[in-house]
Amino acid sequence: MQRLALLTLALCAFLPACGGDGGSEDSTKTLLVAVNAPFSRTPYVGQTIADGAQLAADEANIQTDEGTYRLRIKRYDTGLSARTAVRNVRQAIADGAVAIVDEGTGVNASWRLANDADRPLGITYQGGVDLVDLEQRPNVFRIAPTDHGTAFRLAEYLIPKHDKIGLIVDDSTYGQEGAKAIRESFSHNPESVAIRLTVPSDAADLAPEVLRARRSGADALLVWAQPTTIAGVLSAARSSGWDVPVYTPASGEDPLVRQQLANHPEWVDGLTFATGRPTAEVGPGPFLAFQRKYEDRFGVQLVGVKTPEGEEVVQPPDYAMYSYDFVNVLAAAIEKAGGVEDRQKLIDALHQVSVQGANGDHRGFNENNHEGVVDDDVYFARFDAMVYRPVKDDPLSATLTPLEQVR
C-alpha cells in the first residue's frame, strides 16, 4: 500500500495536471504586478501611482484560452534611491511579477534586469528623455508626459511672452533630466535665456540664487525641480518683493508646493505648470468617471490647504490615471498574448493593443513608439487661490474644462 502511494506520488510529479496552479481550464490565476515608487520620500507620487495601478488591477478580468487571469499589486519603496529601485526590481522578478510599474528612479539600471527576464517595465511618472529607448530598451514603456514634450511646449509657450527667461533646475535626477530637455528646447532661441542655474535640491534658502536670476534681467523663471525647490524659489522671490512669473513642469502641481506655502497662499497665485491633460476633446466625462471610481476606492486626496472661502482643496488623481492606463494596456496585452507563458509574445502584444484611457484618450504603444502620451497632450494650468485652471492663451489648454478641486 505504501509502495502504491509512493508510486502515485512519483507519477504525479511527472504530470502537470496534478500540480496546484495549473488547475482546471476555468480556474482563475492571479498574476503579480510590481509597483516600484518612492512611497517614503515623495508619498504623493508613490501613492498616486500605486492607487492608479491598484484600481486597474481590481477591474482587470483577463480572459484567455488558458483561463481567466486577475492581477495583484505589490508595492516596493524606492525611497528615491536608484540603488534601492534596482534591488526592488530584482526582488519583484524573484517574486514572480509579470510586469513592473515604475516611477522612473533607477530605470537606467533596472531596465536591464527586467529585460533579461523579459518583463515589461512601464514608467508612469518621470519623463526623462533617455529612460525610454525603443532600440536599446525594448521592454521599457512609458505612460506619462515626456520631458522632451513638456520642455518644447514650455519653450513654445514662454518665448513669445517673455524677453528673458531664467532657467533654474535642481540637482535631483528629475531636475537634471529636465535640464537636458530644456537645453534642447531653448537651443534655437538662446537669446531668450537670461541665466541658467543649478541649485541644490536640499537647500534651505534659495535667496542668493533667486537674486542672481533677478539681476540677470530675467522677466520669467522656468523652474524644473522637485516640489520643495519650487516652493523655495517662490518663497525667495516673493519675500523679496519680486513678482516674477514662475513656470514649472508637472512637479509644480504636487501638493507639497502648496503645503510649504500654506502660510502665504498668494505666493502660489500665478504659478503655471505644464503637464499631461487630464481631459480630452470628448470632455471631462471620462476623467470624472475615473475620479469617482478612484475616490470611492481610496478616498479624496486632500492637499492640506484651503481656498480663501475655507473650502478644502483636493488633488485630482491626474497622475494616477497613467498607472491606471498602463495596467489596463498590460491587461489587454496579456489577453492578446493568451497569457504570460511566452514573455516575448506579451511584449510584442504591448505594441498592438490600445485601451480607452482614463481621460478618454486612446492609450497604447506601437512598434515605432513606446511613449503612451504624445507631446501634443501637454497643457498649461495656472494657480489661483490654491486651485488651478487651464490657461486660456494656449490653443490646447483653452479647449479643456477645469476640474473640480474643492470639497
Binding site: E281, V282, Q352, H362, N366, N368, V374, D375, D376, P395
Partner: protein, 360 residues
C-alpha cells in the same frame, strides 16, 4: 369623326404610361465601390482595430509621393510613400492609415511622430488649428505593386510606359427618362469640376436595362526622361487608358536609366450627347472614370476619403536594395536540427556510459 378617333388615339398613346402601370423605379448608376477594384487605396487584409473610433475625419488634405524603384527591365523592386496629411482645424486627432508597411519614419516637416502597428500607420495628438503629419512608409512590394498606375518596360531600343489602371466593369444601357438623366448628368459633371465625389445618382428609365461591359481607366499625365550614355531623352503624354494606353520612347543602344513621373489627370468633359441613350452611356463612363481617377489620388488611403487628395508617382531606375528578409534555409534551422541530434545522442549515450562506468 375620323379626326376625333385619331386625336383620341394620339392622346391615349401619350397618356398611356401614366394611366397604365407605374413607371419603373429609378435605378442607380453603377456604384464605383461595387464595380471597381477595391485598390487603390491599398487595404491590407488584416489590420488592427483601434478601441476608439478615429477622430478628425474632416477638414484635412492628403498628399502623397509614391517612389517606385525599378530594375533595368522596369520591374518594381521597392515602393516607398511619403504621405503628408495637413489638419486644418483645431481638435484632437486619432487617425490610422491601413497600409502594408514594413517601416515608418517621420517625413519632412512633420509636427508629430508617426506610429506603426501591424499594417497600420498611426497618428494621434492635438491640432492647434493647423498641423502637418508626414511619414515615409516602406511598403511590402508584393502587396503594393498591383495598385501602381503604370507599368514600365525597358527593352532594347525602347522604353514603354503603359497605363495599368484600366478595368472592365459591369454596366448597362437603357432608354432613360431625359429629365432625370439631365439632372444626374449635370450632377456628375459639376462634381467632377468641383473635384468632389457625386452622390445620389439615380436615373429614371423607360424600359428595362441591358447589361454591358464598360472599359474605364484613370487618365494619367506622364512625363519623364530616359538617359542613355550621355544622351537625355525627355518624353511626356496623356494616357487615358482606353483610347491611348501606351507611350513608347525609342532609345539608342545602351543601358537606359529611366525616371517617370505620373499624376492622375483631370477627367475631360465632352460635349453632352444629344441622344438620351448615348448621354446615359456617357454619364456612366464619366462617373466611373472619375471614380477610378480618384482611386489613384490615394495610393495610401486618406483619413478623409472624400476630401482633397493628390498623388504623384515617381518611377526610377535604381539598384535593388539587398533583401532584409532571411534566406529560406537559415542557419538557425540547421542549428536546431544539430542541437536535436546532439540531444538525442547524449540521451542515448548517458545510460550506456553509466552502465560502463558501473561495471568498470
Amino acid at each position: 369623326m375620323r379626326r376625333l378617333v385619331v386625336a383620341g388615339a394620339v392622346a391615349a398613346s401619350l397618356w398611356a404610361p401614366a394611366a397604365g402601370a407605374a413607371p419603373p423605379p429609378p435605378v442607380s448608376l453603377p456604384w464605383p465601390p461595387e464595380v471597381l477594384p477595391r485598390t487603390p487605396p491599398l487595404a491590407p487584409e488584416t489590420t488592427g482595430v483601434l478601441p476608439l473610433p478615429p477622430r478628425f475625419l474632416r477638414g484635412l488634405d492628403n498628399r502623397e509621393r509614391v517612389v517606385v524603384g525599378i530594375d533595368e527591365e522596369g520591374k518594381p523592386h521597392s515602393v516607398r510613400v511619403l504621405q503628408t496629411i495637413v489638419l486644418k482645424r483645431l481638435g484632437d486627432y486619432v487617425l490610422t492609415v491601413p497600409a502594408p508597411v514594413q517601416s515608418v519614419t517621420p517625413g519632412p516637416g512633420t509636427e508629430s511622430q508617426p506610429g506603426r502597428r501591424e499594417n497600420q500607420i498611426l497618428w494621434e495628438g492635438f491640432s492647434p488649428g493647423r498641423r502637418v503629419l508626414a511619414a515615409w512608409a516602406d511598403l511590402r512590394l508584393a502587396e503594393s505593386v498591383a495598385g501602381l498606375p503604370v507599368e514600365v518596360k525597358v527593352e532594347p531600343g525602347a522604353v514603354t510606359v503603359r497605363n495599368a489602371t484600366g478595368v472592365t466593369v459591369p454596366s448597362f444601357s437603357a432608354e432613360p427618362d431625359p429629365v432625370s438623366l439631365g439632372q444626374v448628368s449635370g450632377r456628375v459633371r459639376s462634381s467632377i469640376k468641383a473635384d468632389v465625389f457625386p452622390e445620389g445618382l439615380n436615373v429614371g428609365l423607360r424600359g428595362s436595362t441591358t447589361p454591358e461591359q464598360l472599359r474605364v481607366a484613370a487618365p494619367l499625365r506622364v512625363s519623364g526622361t530616359v538617359r542613355v550614355g550621355g544622351e537625355r531623352i525627355p518624353f511626356s503624354g496623356r494616357l487615358d487608358g482606353v483610347r491611348r494606353s501606351e507611350l513608347r520612347v525609342p532609345v539608342p543602344e545602351g543601358k537606359p536609366e529611366v525616371e517617370v513621373q505620373v499624376q492622375p489627370d483631370d477627367v475631360r468633359l465632352p460635349r453632352p450627347a444629344r441622344n438620351p441613350r448615348a448621354l446615359l452611356a456617357q454619364t456612366i463612363a464619366l462617373e466611373l472614370t472619375y471614380a477610378r481617377k480618384r482611386q489613384f489620388d490615394q495610393f495610401l488611403s486618406s483619413p478623409d476619403q472624400t476630401g482633397p487628395s493628390s498623388a504623384t508617382y515617381v518611377y526610377r531606375t535604381t539598384a535593388p536594395r539587398p533583401s532584409a528578409e532571411p534566406a529560406a534555409t537559415s542557419g538557425e534551422g540547421d542549428n536546431t536540427v544539430g542541437w536535436i541530434v546532439l540531444g538525442l545522442g547524449l540521451a542515448a549515450a548517458l545510460p550506456v556510459a553509466a552502465v560502463v562506468w558501473a561495471h568498470s
